[in-house]
Amino acid sequence: MFGYYLQLALRSLGRNRVLTTLMVLALALGIGACITTLAVLRLLSGDPLPGRSAQLYYPQIDPYPKDGYVPGESKPQENLTWVDANELFAAHRAQRQALVALGSAKIQPRDAGGRPFFGDAVMTTAEFLPMVGAPFRYGGAWSAADDAAGARVVVIAGFLNQKLFGGANSVGRTLRLNGHDFRVVGVLDRFSPQPRFYAINLGRSYGDGDGVFLPLRAGRAVKLDPYSVSCWEAADIEHLETAPCMWLGLWVELPDAAAVANYKRFLDGYVREQIARGRFHRTDTALPDLMQWLRDENVVPDDARLQAGLAFGFLLICVTNTIGLLLAKCLRRSREIGVRRALGATRGAIFGQFMVEAAIVGLAGGLLGLVFAELGLWGIRHQPAEYAELARLDLSMFVFTFIVALLSALVAGLLPAWRACAVAPAPQLKSA
C-alpha cells in the first residue's frame, strides 16, 4: 500500500513542478535558517565539561563598601580578593578546589631567532587540571607543595608543545615565561572547554584554549598580571595581594546536594564573620553551578538568540506557506479523490496518501535544508566572533534536521490531508 501511495505522491508532485519546487524550497529555507541558528545557540550554550559541570560550583561574595547598598537588590561579585580567596581556599570545605586567574604571559622560544610572543596563561592551583578532567599526554599536574612553594613549574597545552618542542615529550625541559625559567611538568592533550568557563569576559572565550597553566604564586612572582581586576577604591594594582581588588575565581567540586548546602552554609557563615569583623558590609552570597554561572554571565549573546527567534518565525511562515500550497493541490484533485473513494478507498487510505505526499516534500525540504544549513554555517564561520570557526553540524544536529523537516511537513500536511479525506465522493462524480 505504501509503495502505491509513494508512486501516487511522486506522480502528483511531478505534475506540478513549479508548486512542488516552491514548497520544497520554502521549507528548506526555513529549516536551513533554523538549524544554522540552533547550531550556533547550541555551541554557545553548550556544556564545557560534560559529566563534570554539575559538580563544579563557583562561590561568590560581595566585599564592596556599604555605599549605595540596598539589601536584596545587589548581586555578589564575579571575582574574589586575594584575602578572601585564600581564606576560603585554606578552609578546604570542598572535595577538590582551585583558584583561577587568567593573564597574558610573554613566552620566549628557545631558539635564538624566534620572536617572543604573548599567550594566555592560567594561574591556578594544583587540583585545577585534575578537577576539570584535563587529559595529559606527557607528565602530569604539579602538587600542592609546588603551590605553597611557588615552584617555577608549568603545564603546557598540546598546541604550544607542538609549536615550541615539535610535539616531543618536553617534560623536564624549560620554558621562559616573562623572562624566567619554568620547568615543564606536564603536556596536555587536546583540552579546550567551550567556552573557557574559568575566564571572565566569556564572549571571547572560545577557541583553542590556553597555552600555559602555572602555579598561582609562581605566576604572581614573575609579574604575571590578571586580565580582569576590579577595584572598589583607588588601589595600587602593583600589589594585588593587599589591594581592595577582586581578580581571583574559586572553583569547588561538590559531589551532592548535601555538600552544596553545607558549602553554602559555610559561605554565609564566612560572610557573617567578616561582617562581624567589620571587613564586609553586604550579606549576599551565591553558589551557582557551572551552567548556572554561564547563564548568569549571559554567555549567549543577544544577537544569537534574536537570530534563532527570527529563524523560527521564518520557519513558521514557511510551514504556513506549505500548508496553503498543499491544500490548493489536494483540493484541486477533489475529483480524483472522489473516484478513488467511490472505487472503495477508505478515508484512512486517502489520508495516508496525502500524508505520504507531505512527507516526501518534508524529506526533500530537509535534505535541501541541510545544504542551506551548511551554507549558513559556512557564512557564520566567516564572521568575526571567536566562536565562529567552531560552528559545525554534528551527527545529532543532522538527525535533528530531518526530524524537524519531517515534522514540519507532516504538520503542514495534516490540514490538507484531513480536508482531502473529508471529500464526499458523490458530488465530485456527479459533476464529472
Binding site: A26, I317, T320, L325, L327, Q383, P384
Partner: protein, 413 residues
C-alpha cells in the same frame, strides 16, 4: 464596491485557504516590520561619526619586550620622533586608546569634587584619552573653542598614580553636559577626584572607544589629558600624507622594528588603517543588518509565491463560474478587479492581525533585548508594502482569469 458581498460569500467557501493567506501575510508583516526596524537601528549605529578624520589614519599597537614602567618613556619618544621624521607621515601621537578600539578608560566627570561620605551619581560618564599635543592634528579633530595642549604641559605619568589637576580638552558633548549654559572653557572638571582639571579646549566631536549599547549614553563624552602613560603597552596613531597610505602600512612597522627590535606588534590587528578599525568594530552590526535584509527579501518572496500558488488554484477551480459570469455580460476588467478586490480583502484582514502581531513582537523584544520601541511609521510602511505585494502577486493569476472565454460556461468538464 458592489462586488464585495459576492466575494465574501465566495471566500466563505474557501475558509482554510483564506485564513492561510491572511495568516501568512500577518506573520510576514510582523517579522518584516521588526527586521526593518533592526536594520535601521544597526545601520544608524554603524554610520556614527567618530569625530576623527578617518582617511589617511593608521593605528599601530605596540608592546615592549623587556622594558616596562619608566624605561618605556625614552623608547616611546624615540619611536615618535622616528615616525614624525618619516617621509610620508604627516604627524604621529601615542594614545592609550582610540574610538572604535573597544578597550579604554572610563570614569565619572563632575563639576564639583567627588565626596567620599556622600556618594552620588556623577553628572556624566566619560572616557579618558591620554595623549600629547600632537593628538589633535594626528586624529584630525576639530577644535571649536580654546586651544591645544602646549608641549610643556605634556608629562609622562605612571598609570597607577597620577592626579588629574591639569589642563584638559573635552568633547563638545561633554562640555554641554557639564555646563549647559555653554561656557565650559576655563571651568573645572572633576574626574573622580578632589582636585579639578581645567577645560582649555573643546573639540567638536570625539567618540569613546566602545561601540556597545552599554556605552550609548556617553558615546561622545571624551576627555583628552596631556599625559603619556608609562608601561609596556601603547597605541600609536599615525597620519599619513595623502596617497601614502598603502606604502606607510608597510613602512611604519618596518621603521619601528628598525628603531628597536625588542617589541611585539601583533600580526593580527597590529597595524590597521582606520577603515579596517571601523569595519572590524561594526562587523557584527553589519552582519546582522545584512542577515535581516536577506530574511525580509526571502520572506516577501515566499509570501508572494504562496499567494500566486493559491490564487492560481482558485482561478483554475472557478473557470466555469468565470465563464458563466463572462457569458452573462461581465467584462474582462470585472473579472480582473474581482480577484484584485478579493486579494485586497484577504490582505486587509492579514495586515490588521499582522500590525497587532508586529507591535506585540516588538514589545516582547523590548522586554528581552536592548531594543527601542517600534515606530508606527514602520508598521504603516510594512502594511502598504504587503498590500502592494499581494496585489502584485495576484495580478498574473487574475489576468489569466480575465482571459477565460465565455464559452467555458458551456463546457461541462
Amino acid at each position: 464596491m458592489m462586488q464585495i458581498k459576492p466575494i465574501l460569500a465566495a471566500l466563505k467557501r474557501h475558509k482554510a485557504g483564506t485564513v492561510l493567506i491572511a495568516l501568512q501575510i500577518a506573520l510576514t508583516l510582523a517579522i518584516v516590520c521588526n527586521a526593518l526596524f533592526i536594520i535601521r537601528q544597526r545601520t544608524e549605529h554603524l554610520s556614527r561619526p567618530t569625530g576623527l578624520t578617518e582617511s589617511n589614519l593608521l593605528a599601530v599597537s605596540n608592546r615592549w619586550v623587556g622594558a616596562d614602567g619608566k624605561a618605556t618613556e625614552s623608547l616611546t619618544e624615540t619611536d615618535l620622533a622616528a615616525l614624525r621624521q618619516q617621509a610620508g607621515v604627516a604627524d604621529a601621537t601615542m594614545i592609550n586608546s582610540y574610538p572604535l578600539r573597544g578597550g579604554g578608560w572610563s570614569l565619572g566627570a563632575d563639576t564639583k569634587p567627588s565626596d567620599k561620605d556622600n556618594v552620588r551619581r556623577p553628572t556624566a560618564q566619560t572616557t579618558l584619552y591620554f595623549t600629547d599635543e600632537h593628538a589633535l592634528s594626528t586624529m584630525g579633530l576639530k577644535l571649536v573653542g580654546g586651544r591645544n595642549f602646549r608641549p610643556e604641559e605634556v608629562r609622562w605619568v605612571d598609570p597607577r598614580d597620577f592626579e588629574t589637576n591639569v589642563p584638559v580638552i573635552v568633547s563638545q558633548a561633554l562640555a554641554t553636559k557639564l555646563y549647559p549654559d555653554g561656557h565650559a572653557l576655563g571651568k573645572p572638571v572633576y574626574l573622580s577626584s578632589t582636585k579639578p582639571a581645567t577645560i582649555i579646549g573643546i573639540v567638536e566631536r570625539l567618540q569613546v572607544p566602545w561601540t556597545g549599547n552599554w556605552a550609548a549614553n556617553f558615546a561622545e563624552n571624551s576627555v583628552l589629558l596631556p599625559f603619556l602613560l608609562q608601561g609596556n603597552f601603547g597605541n600609536y596613531l599615525v597620519r599619513t600624507r595623502p596617497g601614502e597610505m598603502a606604502r606607510m602600512t608597510k613602512a611604519v612597522p618596518a621603521l619601528l622594528f628598525k628603531t628597536n627590535r625588542m617589541r611585539v606588534i601583533p600580526e593580527e590587528r597590529g597595524v590597521r588603517t582606520f577603515a579596517e578599525v571601523r569595519e572590524q568594530a561594526y562587523k557584527s552590526d553589519r552582519g546582522m543588518a545584512i542577515l535581516m535584509g536577506v530574511v525580509c527579501a526571502v520572506l516577501l518572496a515566499i509570501t508572494a509565491a504562496g499567494i500566486v500558488g493559491l490564487t492560481s488554484f482558485w482561478v483554475g477551480q472557478r473557470r466555469k463560474q468565470i465563464g458563466v459570469r463572462r457569458a452573462l455580460g461581465a467584462t474582462r476588467h470585472d473579472i480582473l478587479s474581482y480577484f484584485l478586490t478579493e486579494n485586497l480583502l484577504i490582505g486587509a484582514g492579514g495586515v490588521i492581525v499582522g500590525a497587532a502581531l508586529a507591535i506585540g513582537m516588538n514589545l516582547w523584544l523590548v522586554s528581552h533585548f536592548e531594543m527601542e520601541r517600534l515606530s508606527l511609521a514602520y508598521v504603516a510602511v510594512g502594511v502598504i508594502a504587503l498590500l502592494l505585494l499581494g496585489q502584485g502577486a495576484v495580478l498574473a493569476p487574475a489576468m489569466k482569469a480575465s482571459r477565460v472565454p465565455p464559452v467555458e460556461a458551456t463546457r461541462s468538464v
